[in-house]
């Protein structure tokens, strides 16, 4: 199937602020293949993609298109060649409609004017073709992150390109949408379109890719042919150690009903009906998984528990004490919260790791009179960096320019510095590499062992099964199912989320 070399990047160098990110990288994609690009967080995958698509200027190296050297200085240049790219950081424009976003810069025109009727119709055709839950005229700012990801994908698909690059397209998709995407990818491949596929979800990569390039610390680590893509080997090449990635169907860890109840949520109901009568408990040392499709209302529920949004009615009790939730009160009561939208809600991009880590912890940082002890603040951030291996390990690095995975570690790291009773994590590993994922899982498990109650909201079914002691599935604002001390499979959870009862039960 795979034919001649379509695009080739040779001897690519790139550095930011003097720190080398890519060194002598070689990367080659053949016509009609799905080529996966893997590597740890910060390995330089996204940077390589941005160089290929002209967003960053390379420091050195050469790119060849169908064997001929080309200069790509802007995204338009690569569009002309027939390359489309779905970037990791979403590039949808919130004030525009879905259709405007999909055809941004390529709007169908009548004379000098945009032909909106045609554009909406073309978008509707695309939506129908791929069956995405979208409407052409919806303004994007009113949509959630998952839907925005779908728009981004639609935009890439609409370009009929020879090469489609996808940088972590499934990071904020739930199982159902991801399945749809995989089908689309397979269809495109059969039509001869080349695809560069970046993901931290290994099973996707194994399933989809024809070849695999692994980057490590900004250098080429390996190029594997389909038959050589063996999970253990890939992981080892990527991160230098072996991680157990096996999971599919397994028995829940034992969830002990007799353990002390830490969190008791009673009849929580939303003002605007995004969830209703939510009641559940989390015990000491228990990891509760919260599953469901995009838009099931899980995020809203956990935000209400933590106190970012106020629920219309219902109560939240922690260790037998009724809470009046607000972020500040929650923090002081021993609740930690990792929001799903990392970039917009998780951290302060302009500030350093140190200041981000310390932000929620000034009640425990040493303060002389009114003056923060810089040394103590720094020591705390060094502890966090050490505890979850944040890279770069420079505590003064601006978090805004760090890779997504490391940003997530910073967001999580600050909660590990305090004594927690309850930790809520919403999509904790979106866009995080296997190694780091594994670390995060073990951090969550460690916390649980220490008696912390943990709530994990995740759309990654594998993850849900991997970490949860008990699973609650939500659908359209209601709790529809609980899996406790039973055998669960991904498909059972999925069908509960979709509202399809399995006959097998």
């Amino acid at each position: 199937m795979a034919g001649n070399t379509l695009i080739e990047a040779k001897g690519i160098y790139k550095s930011f602020s003097g720190v080398p990110v890519l060194q002598d990288v070689h990367f080659e994609v053949k016509a009609g293949e799905v080529h996966a690009l893997m590597g740890e967080n910060g390995a330089g995958k996204s940077t390589l993609i941005k160089i290929i698509t002209g967003v960053y200027t390379k420091d050195d190296g050469q790119i060849y298109w169908e064997g001929k050297p080309v200069e790509i200085n802007s995204y338009q240049d690569c569009q002309k060649l027939g390359v489309a790219c779905i970037y990791q950081e979403l590039s949808v424009i919130p004030p525009l409609t879905v259709a405007q976003n999909v055809y941004l810069g390529r709007e169908p025109r009548k004379g000098p004017f945009i032909d909106y009727a045609k554009m909406n119709q073309m978008t509707q055709e695309l939506i129908d073709k791929y069956q995405f839950p979208l409407k052409p005229t919806t303004v994007v700012e009113n949509l959630g992150i998952g839907q925005r990801q779908l728009i981004e994908i639609l935009k890439g698909l609409s370009q009929d390109s020879k090469l489609l690059i996808m940088d972590e397209p499934t990071a904020s998709l739930s199982g159902k949408e991801a399945e749809m995407l995989f089908k689309i990818i397979q269809k495109l491949r059969s039509e001869g379109v080349s695809i560069i596929y970046i993901s931290h979800r290994l099973e996707e990569v194994y399933m989809l890719s024809d070849r695999l390039t692994i980057l490590r610390d900004g250098k080429n680590a390996a190029v594997l042919e389909k038959e050589d893509i063996i999970p253990a080997k890939v992981i080892e090449t990527m991160i230098g150690k072996v991680v157990d990635e096996s999971a599919g169907s397994r028995k829940m860890l034992h969830s002990d009903d007799n353990a002390e109840v830490r969190l008791d949520v009673k009849n929580l109901t939303d003002k605007t009906d995004r969830y209703r009568n939510i009641s559940f408990q989390v015990h000491r040392g228990e990891i509760l998984g919260l599953g469901g499709l995009i838009g099931a209302g899980r995020t809203e529920v956990v935000r209400a528990i933590y106190g970012v949004d106020k629920a219309a009615s219902g109560e939240v009790w922690l260790d037998g004490k009724k809470l009046n939730p607000s972020p500040k009160a929650s923090i002081l009561e021993g609740i930690g919260f990792v929001p799903e939208d990392r970039r917009n809600q998780g951290f302060i991009p302009l500030l350093s790791t140190t200041k981000n880590v310390a932000l929620t912890n000034y009640d425990i940082v040493k303060i002389n009179g009114t003056s923060i002890s810089d040394a103590d603040e720094l020591a705390m951030s060094k502890r966090a960096i050490q505890a979850i291996d944040i890279r770069p390990s420079d505590p003064n690095k601006q978090v805004g320019v760090m890779s997504g995975g490391n940003q997530q570690k910073v967001v999580l790291g600050k909660w590990l510095m305090r004594d927690l009773k309850l930790l809520i994590v919403d999509e904790p590993t979106a866009g995080i590499d296997v190694g780091a994922k594994d670390e995060i899982y073990s951090i969550l498990e460690d916390l649980a062992k220490q008696g912390v109650a943990v709530i994990v909201v995740t759309s990654d079914l594998q993850e849900l099964l991997r970490v949860s002691h008990r699973i609650i599935v939500m659908r359209k604002g209601d709790i529809v199912k609980e899996f406790k001390n039973v055998e669960v499979t991904q498909s059972k959870v999925l069908s509960a989320g979709q509202g399809v009862e399995e006959e097998a039960e």
């Binding site: 802007s74 995204y75 338009q76 790219c85 590039s91 525009l96 810069g105 909106y116 979208l134 700012e141």
Partner: protein, 336 residues
């Protein structure tokens, strides 16, 4: 479709607020000849709004890209003084004089664009600097009398001053405003450039990743503003029948205020030219109406400020409600 209704609703609300203001002044200052509410006075209000509205079209483009232009007042003076020089020292036809003025406006806009978009100087400070540069250039080319003292240059040739008048009370400047506002609105809503403006304003990074030439888009917005400023300068000098170095002094906040009152967010990515027009009308009504109250100037300032605050509070409260509703709609849509 829902969103369509929402913008329409908001538009209706802002028109409503304008009308309330008109009614308020009609009650306080009276209707009929010599009062607030009569044709002659209302048409003057529109006339007063037209220069900020015309220049506001360009400024709206810039603000939509999350930029700002503080140099429009000085730019007006420079354009005016350029034309005054041609008027005074040459016998070139007026059309050539006006073209030269427009050219200067475009060049000024280009300067701003280059400083801001190419050299990445923050908009506020970049255009604050050009504000003093353009004013200084105006002084330098100012026309001086035999003693070397700067003087105002009359430009009272009837072939030019007709621009300052109208067909009866339908002033040409109002007609120009309607044309420019319409052109601006169409550009904004129905061309790629317009979409690009919104994209750049919403997120420069996302716009870059979508293949939009961010620097070029911003630059063109500044150049367009240069054009609208030149048009504003032409109508102003035609009405004043002269050009002075003081034209446009402290003017720069007027179009910005018109835009912002009209719902163009300074953070970029939202608003439109019609909003700016309504904002300009609102500000002009306020200025004019407060004058009719026959109260001490000092209190006029207080009342003006208080009304603006009251109105924006109302608008913000309303907008917050609309936005929440729209998000809920969006969320529901996602479920289907």
């Amino acid at each position: 479709m829902k969103r369509m209704n929402q913008t329409t609703m908001r538009r209706l609300i802002s028109i409503g607020m304008l009308l309330i203001l008109v009614v308020l002044f009609t009650i306080l200052a009276g209707a009929g000849k010599g009062k607030f509410f009569n044709f002659d006075n209302l048409i003057e209000v529109v006339r007063d709004a037209s220069i900020p509205a015309i220049i506001g079209v360009g400024v709206t483009f810039i603000i939509i890209t999350a930029g700002i232009d503080l140099s429009t007042g000085s730019m007006m003076a420079l354009v005016g003084m350029t034309m005054a020089n041609i008027y005074a020292y040459t016998l070139l036809p007026f059309s050539v004089m006006m073209l030269a003025g427009i050219l200067v406006g475009l060049l000024c806009g280009l300067c701003n664009g280059i400083i801001v978009a190419k050299f990445n100087v923050p908009e506020f400070i970049g255009t604050l600097a050009t504000m003093s540069i353009f004013r200084a250039l105006t002084y330098i080319i100012a026309i001086r009398d035999a003693n070397g003292v700067i003087k105002s240059q009359p430009m009272n040739h009837s072939q030019y001053t007709w621009l300052g008048t109208g067909i009866g009370k339908f002033y040409y400047v109002i007609i120009a405003m309607i044309i420019i506002v319409a052109a601006g609105q169409i550009t904004l809503k129905y061309t790629r450039f317009g979409t690009n403006l919104y994209s750049v304003g919403a997120s420069k990074k996302a716009a870059t990743l979508s293949g939009i030439d961010v620097a070029k888009t911003r630059l063109i917005a500044y150049v367009i503003t240069g054009f609208t400023v030149a048009i504003g300068a032409i109508f102003t000098t035609a009405r004043l029948q002269s050009a002075t170095t003081a034209i446009g002094m402290d003017f720069e906040f007027n179009p910005i205020a018109a835009a912002v009152v009209g719902g163009v967010a300074l953070s970029g990515g939202s608003g439109d030219v019609i909003g700016t027009l309504i904002g300009a009308l609102f500000m002009a009504t306020l200025e004019n109406g407060v004058r009719k109250l026959s109260i001490n100037t000092a209190y006029q300032y207080v009342i003006k400020g208080a009304i603006i605050i009251a109105v924006v509070i109302f608008d913000a409260t309303y907008k917050a409600r609309m936005d929440r509703k729209a998000r809920e709609e969006g969320a529901k849509e996602g479920l289907e």
